[in-house]
């Protein structure tokens, strides 16, 4: 072994000793929020968007002097760990966050990770804040889960209704992403579309993690002469798909699953008119309510004027605000069941922390943990956005199994 070898060996040992020895253990006056999400790899952008929202809520509360719970002031801290969308890492991270860092709540944005956590969270006593539109996580009976985003079914029906009733589309080619989320979404959509008398001309799941040339798939899809295409990845791959479909001569419309954002897609197509005839979620910036405006302002103050917040950040932000409000309401930082009860307590909407900050002015949280929020849709026609239209969210889309 060379001389460098010894030194290096010593260095390695040193790193281990230092890192294992010095840990910022949560002291008595800290509330820890754990976040496990994709911070590297293909999903990193999504993960970072969420993280920005989470961090913003935490910083805001700390700036106000912390959170007062049962007469005692607490500081809040966020610990983020990378899981690259892998369930095993999510579970490992959660164990670390809960048992080592003292977190009572874990925020996670993938249905796989959430299912992994649901297997242990009641036993190991922590709350899951689920960022998913998947219905199963609120209908499975898990008592320690709450879910931020609206139910998938609300979007499915609203988009399908709009596409058929307003645009008169009948033939739809489905090109959702090849992962769990796209599969669930397109499954629900297919059933509903056919029930309404529509035709699914082809179903081509797209793996957006691969080399992203969509010509081969689009060539195949366009050969079936669809009126519209259902697309469902994040904004940029969606935009590529739109652009390439137009290049191949497609004139119909696009139904955009809510993970994609029309305003972001707009940045990535050379001509806005390419997006004509698209249905998707309404950008947060077009939300008319003052609290949304207030959130955008605060977001830009924190992250820079050129940063436009997306729903991921806003929903994550709202979730933390709710969670912290629930702690205050419950008067305990440790009893997870009491915190869960407080979350569902109608009084929480009246608390100043929530009332002043919730960008969505969420209506309530169902006993199963689903947050009922305000959802708006939008269309893109003639090179610009239409006025937002409300997406109907009857209670059953939040509470029933489908």
């Amino acid at each position: 072994m060379k001389k460098g070898g010894y030194l290096f060996f010593l260095f390695l040992m040193g790193v281990l000793i230092v890192t294992t020895g010095t840990h910022l253990r949560a002291d008595e006056n800290t509330i820890t929020i754990g976040y496990s999400g994709p911070l590297s790899g293909g999903g990193a952008k999504f993960g970072k968007n969420l993280q920005m929202g989470l961090q913003m809520a935490v910083d805001q509360v700390n700036q106000m002097g912390g959170l007062e719970v049962a007469g005692k002031k607490y500081q809040v801290r966020l610990i983020s760990l990378d899981d690259q969308f892998q369930t095993a890492l999510t579970v490992s991270n959660a164990k670390r966050l809960v048992h080592k860092e003292g977190a009572k709540m874990i925020f996670n944005p993938s249905s796989g990770g959430i299912f992994g956590l649901m297997a242990i969270n009641e036993k190991e006593k922590f709350i899951i804040c689920a960022y998913t539109t998947n219905q199963v996580c609120v209908t499975s009976g898990n008592k320690l889960i709450f879910r931020g985003p609206p139910a998938m079914m609300a979007y499915v029906q609203a988009w399908a209704n709009r596409a058929m009733d307003k645009f008169g589309w009948k033939k739809c080619a489905m090109m959702p992403d090849a992962y769990d989320y796209g599969k669930l979404w397109s499954g629900l959509f297919e059933k509903y579309w056919q029930k309404k008398g529509g035709v699914i001309t082809t179903h081509i799941p797209v793996d957006f993690m691969k080399l992203s040339d969509y010509y081969p798939l689009l060539t195949k899809a366009l050969a079936t002469n669809p009126d519209c295409i259902l697309i469902g990845s994040s904004s940029e791959p969606n935009a590529m798909q739109v652009k390439q479909a137009r290049e191949l001569g497609f004139r119909g419309g696009f139904i955009v699953i809510e993970r994609g954002k029309l305003e972001e897609m707009l940045q990535f197509v050379p001509d806005p008119n390419m997006l004509n005839g698209s249905i998707g979620t309404c950008p947060l910036i077009f939300y008319p309510n003052p609290s949304a405006k207030k959130f955008i302002k605060k977001f830009k103050e924190k992250y820079g004027a050129d940063q436009v917040p997306v729903h991921e950040s806003a929903i994550a932000y709202a979730n933390i605000i709710y969670y912290l409000a629930a702690i205050k309401l419950a008067g305990t930082t440790t009893d997870v069941y009491k915190i869960m009860d407080a979350l569902k307590d109608p009084r929480i909407q009246k608390m100043p922390l929530v009332k002043e900050n919730d960008p969505y002015e969420n209506e309530k949280i169902f006993p199963n943990g689903a947050v009922k929020g305000r959802v708006l849709g939008v269309e893109f026609v003639n090179g610009k956005f239409s006025d937002p239209f409300p997406v109907p969210t009857p209670d059953w889309v939040y509470t029933e199994k489908y």
Partner: protein
């Protein structure tokens, strides 16, 4: 005298392993220990084919995944008990290992690692896309922990707690070490070393290298499957990513950084590296950058891993004393 000392050391080590859960109450550290046990089994399995037979199998992580999925599916879809599903899952993995080993082991040199890498990718995609059986990209959830063992008059051993899983995994690690140690110290083990050293010469000496490689490959996939099966039951959920070749990389790193071609090396690597990766979390986004640098530097200065480094150091000291 030497034997006695060895036995004593071993005894003390086993005692320490047995009483660890009495001192470590922290759920998180116990979890890390269980995971280390699983990584140890998988690292030893890779080390058998890589360190002794000299074949760089980059599909080992995929076999881990096959074992995990096989065990999980046998429990969930066929309703088998863990105690039946685990051996069946390992056998199934070994069977697939045997069938895929036959064509891939025909290749030599750099073609073998890349052939197995392709094999791993192909199988990964089958697992990731075969919705009806494997659950596709969403994975498998709600896999049960091992069924309690009922011992008449004494009570039952349940595996709900992490500590009990720790004992189960430790036991399996022990079995793995014994089997692999017996294999490599036997005359059959000498054949593997011959294949690693020079395959042509081994053939000229009358060794059926193809048969021995296939057998070794099959045994090593069996243990990869064992690690996977335990993983499935312990974690309760599986994703196709568990069969991805990134898992193979991780195993390979454990083996190489610990010390390839030794029994203790992969064990050290499988404890040390996951711990290092965990402890570097404080670096945030730069964590994997530092981790990568540490890998490069380790392999640069300690080409035979931590164990290799310690050995050379000891040999040097020995030499100095001798003079």
């Amino acid at each position: 005298m030497d034997k006695k000392r060895k036995a004593l050391c071993l005894g003390v080590l086993i005692l320490i392993i047995l009483i660890i859960p009495l001192f470590i109450k922290d759920e998180y550290y116990l979890h890390i220990l269980v995971m280390s046990g699983i990584w140890i089994i998988s690292a030893l399995s890779l080390n058998l084919i890589l360190g002794y037979a000299g074949q760089l199998n980059l599909a080992q992580g995929t076999f881990f995944g096959i074992g995990a999925y096989a065990t999980g599916l046998l429990m969930q879809k066929m309703g088998l008990s863990f105690w039946a599903a685990l051996p069946l899952g390992c056998l199934l993995t070994a069977t697939i290992g045997f069938v895929t080993g036959l064509p891939t082991l025909r290749t030599r040199g750099h073609y073998f690692p890349i052939a197995t890498m392709c094999l791993g990718i192909a199988i990964y995609y089958v697992i990731a896309r075969w919705d009806d059986v494997t659950g596709g990209a969403r994975g498998l959830f709600g896999l049960p922990r091992p069924d309690p063992i009922v011992i008449p008059f004494l009570g039952t051993i349940s595996f709900e707690s992490t500590a009990s899983c720790y004992y189960l995994v430790s036991f399996l690690v022990f079995i793995t070490i014994v089997v692999i140690h017996r294999l490599i110290t036997s005359l059959s083990g000498k054949r593997l070393i011959a294949i690693r050293g020079n395959e042509d010469l081994a053939q000229a000496l009358g060794i059926n290298t193809m048969r021995d490689k296939v057998i070794c490959f099959t045994i090593s996939t069996f243990f990869a499957g064992l690690a996977g099966g335990v993983f499935a039951s312990y974690m309760g959920s599986l994703m196709a990513e568990n069969a991805h070749f990134v898992t193979s990389f991780e195993m390979l790193l454990n083996v190489m950084i610990g010390g390839v071609g030794t029994i203790i090396g992969p064990i050290i690597g499988a404890i040390f590296l996951p711990l290092l990766s965990e402890e570097l979390h404080f670096l945030g986004g730069w964590r994997l950058v530092v981790y990568g640098l540490i890998l490069i530097l380790t392999i640069r200065f300690l080409p035979f891993g931590i164990v290799g480094g310690i050995r050379t150091a000891l040999a040097k000291r020995h030499d100095k004393r001798g003079v």
